[in-house]
């Protein structure tokens, strides 16, 4: 039969072995284990003196259970381990959000997505699946890189230098409260939108309004005919948007949301237009020569220049609208965040 005392010591050794498994292998490991072992042996001695007999299995088990499971004890004994500490965490969180939601997601929505759509030969489902798949892995990779960079900064204490360099006098000024949409701005938008729509509606009958004197030898090409209706509809939508902003100024959510939707619709139309340009066999998609001057070499070259100019304008517009979409998404998200925090503030004031 085993001596109770040696059985208890064996149990302690097994316990320490289990703790050792979870402790990081540093020079302190054995030192800590020796000290923990000595503590446990002292506890056993005390308990045995108190009870007047060697501890049985249940009493031993009680001491070790009170000490905690090996994994938990190792966790408490080991060094404090965090990848990014509390001092650096706020800026890490900010950068991570910035990179993932304000750079990567918009880039995928407004650049990678349309490119995938253009390359998919009209298969929208496949393009969307590819974009989402790429976005998913892109998010993981970007999050990993950002975390790695911050972990390195944390380990090298590089942030401590920056912490000492900040200047209170360079803090940004206090931001003013968000104002309701300006009445004058909405009125101007409505006025210009109205005249813009009239101008657009008159174009088929009076091409001189856009081509000027060149209307004598140029006329609208197939692309302008195809996209005339979507452009008119976009103008009507803009007009309606201005009218609603004017009629319902209390709908503070409406201007940023409708602006964003309008921009997204414009982007879709522009994407279609760029795709159609790529597929058209004609070298003159926007304007063509009038029948009367069809044979003139001089006007032929001029029509080419006008078409290239319009193409560059369309490409520039696409880029501008992409940037606008990113900015407006950010503005709308900021509006939502302010609204939520405002509501929470009101609720907490009401609760006091």
């Amino acid at each position: 039969m085993t001596n109770p005392s040696s059985r208890n010591m064996e149990l302690i050794d097994r316990y320490l072995q289990a703790v050792r498994f979870w402790l990081p292998r540093t020079h302190r490991q054995e030192d800590l284990l020796a000290e923990l072992g000595e503590d446990l042996r002292s506890q056993i001695d005390d308990k045995e003196n108190e009870l007047g007999h060697p501890l049985d299995k249940a009493e031993m088990s009680e001491i070790l259970k009170r000490c905690g499971s090996p994994m938990m004890v190792a966790g408490r004994l080991g060094p404090q381990r965090h990848l990014i500490g509390p001092a650096l965490f706020p800026i890490y969180e900010f950068v991570l959000k910035m990179v993932l939601f304000w750079i990567l997601v918009p880039v995928f929505i407004f650049i990678v997505g349309p490119v995938n759509v253009a390359n998919s030969g009209g298969n929208w489902g496949l393009a969307a699946a590819n974009t989402l798949g790429n976005l998913w892995s892109g998010l993981f990779i970007a999050a990993g890189i950002v975390t790695l960079v911050f972990a390195v900064i944390e380990r090298t204490n590089a942030h401590l230098g920056a912490e000492c360099k900040w200047d209170p006098l360079k803090l940004p000024p206090v931001r003013r409260e968000e104002r309701k949409p300006s009445l004058l701005k909405a009125l101007c938008e409505l006025g210009f939108g109205f005249f813009g729509l009239i101008w657009l509606l008159l174009l088929p009958q009076y091409p001189v309004l856009i081509l000027g004197p060149a209307a004598a030898f140029l006329k609208a090409g197939p692309m302008l005919h195809t996209f005339y209706l979507p452009i008119v509809l976009l103008s009507i939508a803009a007009l309606l948007r201005s009218a609603i902003t004017l009629a319902r100024p209390q709908w503070t959510w409406f201007p940023p949301l409708s602006q964003l939707l309008h921009t997204v619709l414009t982007l879709i139309v522009l994407n279609y237009m760029i795709q159609a340009i790529g597929k058209t066999p004609s070298a003159y998609p926007f304007v063509v020569l009038q029948d009367a001057v069809r044979e003139s070499r001089k006007y032929f070259q001029l029509a080419g220049i006008v078409n290239v100019s319009i193409l560059v304008s369309v490409a520039s517009a696409w880029l501008g609208v992409c940037i606008a979409a990113v900015v407006q998404t950010w503005q709308f998200m900021r509006y939502l965040r302010k609204r939520t925090s405002g509501a929470q503030r009101t609720a907490s004031i009401g609760a006091q």
């Binding site: 302190r28 030192d31 800590l32 020796a34 000290e35 923990l36 000595e38 503590d39 042996r41 002292s42 506890q43 005390d46 000490c67 905690g68 938990m72 004890v73 966790g75 408490r76 004994l77 080991g78 060094p79 609720a347 907490s348 009401g350 609760a351 006091q352």
Partner: protein, 118 residues
């Protein structure tokens, strides 16, 4: 009226833990004005009402030693190897300063509590 999202025993436990954390360091330093090994130190603290588990005490002792406030040595006693700790000269100075700070905090807190009860 309360917002019902915070409070309760969990918050109280966390606050008590925070309050104890700083006090424990002072208590450990004060106890180690006389040499002790881990288990007797733990027992002495528990007897005085400041129970501390192994997983908290030993890393704390290591930290205080690394900071130069304690010195330790392994020595045999009762046929067993034990690690004995005691305050270093720097630790003694630091303890004196910490106790002064403790007195100041105590006085300020008493003053605040008296003003609040008026």
């Amino acid at each position: 009226m309360t917002n019902g999202t915070q409070g309760g025993p969990e918050v109280l436990e966390n606050l008590k833990l925070e309050l104890r954390r700083g006090c424990l360091i002072v208590a450990v330093l004060a106890q180690l004005r006389t040499e002790q090994y881990g288990y007797t130190l733990r027992k002495a603290l528990a007897d005085d009402g400041l129970a501390i588990d192994e997983g908290t005490l030993y890393p704390l002792l290591r930290r205080l030693e690394t900071q130069g406030l304690l010195v330790s040595q392994w020595r045999e006693e009762d046929k067993r190897n034990k690690r004995f700790y005691h305050l270093s000269p720097v630790g003694e100075q630091t303890l004196t300063q910490l106790l002064e700070e403790w007195q100041n905090i105590n006085q300020s807190l008493n003053k605040i509590l008296q003003e609040a009860s008026l």
